[in-house]
């Protein structure tokens, strides 16, 4: 549905995107992650025609989106990072006017507004001015404007920033439902657990290029490491296969099953485990994988700098 090929964007002489290649298939959720300033929002702006790129191609449903942005605009649902709603209009007016912009009017528009409002828990707020909504409700309205016309490509740029727990859950549920109905979803976030909950494909945008791409589970398995730390009252005891530093004992090598490693260590320690005061276990997670991916790049750069 969405294909981005070799997209390069310079701000002055500073490259923000350096030949980004990316694809999102129909019904797929792609989580685009990266640090602030990595270029996620710039990439979305280019896909939607809000910014020009210096090189590269973007096709949406087989149409050249850079050459014909208006032809593909109706296929796109965009929820920008910054909240974008009309505060002086009611929720219903916000939805109705954007439905008309997307070419839906009259009874179909009213029916769709009812559906979307119910999906996002805004039915009771339809008659309220948007500036009377809570932060979470505003965020849900913001998302509703993007999905109102059943877009084939949904671009959500940090859609849950400022949303409360219930709003966040509601937004994730909508994303799941849209993808199940065949919408291709590009989802940027700093909350990596959301991508785990969505079981999304992951693409890491780092220093203007996609460094890793894969299914969430694969990325975690491939990159994330579990860790265990045993904490003692006083000096940690010596144990084969573990490293004692001060009052802490950690495995010398990476562990895949931190629970089993902890149990084995406790057996091996025997009576010496009596001084144990705490156990910290970190399970492999997308966050750990992300830190490992971006950390490796930093260390590679540092090595190169040292070699130079």
């Amino acid at each position: 549905m969405l294909r981005v090929a070799g997209v390069t964007k310079l701000y002055g002489e500073h490259p923000v995107l350096r030949g980004v290649d990316l694809g999102v298939a129909t019904g797929e959720i792609l989580g685009l992650v990266g640090a602030n300033g990595a270029g996620k929002t710039t990439l979305i702006s280019i896909i939607t025609g809000l910014r020009h790129c210096d090189r590269g191609n973007v096709t949406i449903g087989g149409i050249d989106a850079l050459a014909h942005p208006r032809r593909v605009a109706g296929s796109i649902g965009l929820a920008p990072q910054e909240l974008g709603i009309y505060p002086t209009l009611t929720v219903r007016e916000n939805l109705y006017d954007f439905a008309r912009l997307a070419g839906i009017a009259g009874r179909p528009a009213r029916a769709r507004i009812g559906e979307v409002a119910e999906l996002l828990g805004l039915t009771e707020q339809l008659g309220l001015r948007a500036d009377q909504l809570s932060g979470g409700q505003k965020r849900r309205l913001h998302t509703a404007l993007a999905i109102l016309h059943r877009p084939r490509l949904l671009l959500l740029d940090e859609p849950t920033v400022g949303a409360d727990v219930a709003s966040r859950a509601g937004i994730l549920e909508i994303v799941r439902a849209m993808a199940a109905a065949g919408t291709a979803v590009l989802y940027t976030t700093h909350y990596l657990t959301e991508l785990e909950q969505l079981d999304a494909e992951i693409a890491v945008l780092d220093a203007g290029v996609i460094t890793v791409r894969g299914a969430c589970r694969e990325v975690v398995e491939c990159w994330a490491r579990a860790s265990v730390t045993l904490r003692f009252a006083g000096q940690a005891p010596e144990l084969e296969g573990w490293t004692a530093v001060g009052c802490q004992l950690t495995p010398t090598q990476a562990v895949t099953d931190p629970g089993a490693a902890t149990a084995a260590a406790l057996v091996a320690l025997g009576a010496r485990a009596g001084k144990l005061v705490g156990v910290d276990v970190t399970r492999p997670s997308l966050e750990a994988a992300y830190l490992a991916i971006t950390g490796r790049r930093f260390s590679e750069e540092a090595d190169r700098d040292l070699a130079a």
Binding site: R70, A73, P80, F98, L101
Partner: protein
């Protein structure tokens, strides 16, 4: 040709104007409040200028209508700059509406609002303050329509040129006061200082008021105001050309909510 998308943007913009009607109400109410205080002095000025039977409303009502039409350029703040402050400008641009659809859809309600403001002022002036458009009504309608088009083009030019809403408001108000003052909105041009009389022709307000005065005091028809209409159209085209040249939809503007 007005597209369906332009109509959708126009409807949205109209709703936005109506959702915050205070600026429109003020620009209609203020001149009506000022008019009774200004009419007696204006009558004396017109009689000194040779119009023995003229009422003060013939000077005051068109003058205030022109002045407050220029001051109404603040409505562009609501229609353009606030879109940036509300984060909705990029949403509009990412919609199927083209830039031309968006601009047209924003300008059309502004035009209608300005035209209504002018109509209310002239009608109230006729009913209450002795404004007598004894010439051609069709000519008066044409003058109003072209003058408002020029004011809207001026307002859109300010949007195109100004990075912030505050700057657009300041320039809109200052520029409007200067143009209206030079054009004879506050006093007949013949009573202005010599230097002001010399440059009055450079103000579009002069040509609007000249046409209105021809209709009210000299009973002119369409032919009698054709020259003024032509000059007003040239001003409108000039402002619109600058707006089209300088308008960049991707430029981030700073508005206030």
């Amino acid at each position: 040709m007005i597209s369906r998308r332009s109509l959708a943007v126009g409807r949205l913009s109209g709703r936005l104007l109506l959702s915050d009607p205070a600026p429109m109400i003020v620009t209609v109410a203020m001149p009506l409040i000022l008019a009774p205080f200004l009419v007696p002095a204006a009558r004396a000025q017109l009689q000194l200028a040779g119009y023995a039977t003229a009422g003060g409303g013939d000077q005051v009502i068109p003058g205030l209508a022109v002045l407050f039409a220029f001051l109404s350029t603040q409505l562009v703040g609501t229609l353009f700059f606030r879109e940036h402050a509300w984060g909705t400008w990029d949403r509009l641009r990412a919609s199927p509406a083209s830039t031309a659809d968006i601009v047209l859809g924003k300008v059309a309600p502004l035009y209608v609002a300005q035209l209504l403001q002018l109509a209310v002022l002239l009608t109230t002036g006729w009913l209450l303050f002795g404004f007598r458009p004894d010439g051609s009504v069709a000519a008066l309608v044409m003058v109003g329509a072209v003058f408002v088009a020029m004011v809207v083009a001026y307002a859109v030019m300010l949007v195109a040129l100004c990075p912030t809403m505050d700057l657009a408001l300041v320039l809109g108000n200052l520029g409007g006061m200067v143009m209206a003052g030079l054009g004879g909105a506050l006093a007949p041009v013949s009573s202005l200082p010599r230097w002001a009389q010399a440059v009055a022709h450079l103000s579009p307000a002069y040509w609007a008021l000249d046409a209105m005065r021809s209709i009210t005091l000299d009973h002119a028809g369409l032919a009698g105001v054709a020259g003024s209409l032509g000059v007003l159209l040239l001003f409108a085209a000039g402002f619109a050309a600058v707006a089209a040249w300088r308008f960049r939809p991707s430029t981030v503007k700073i508005g206030t909510t």
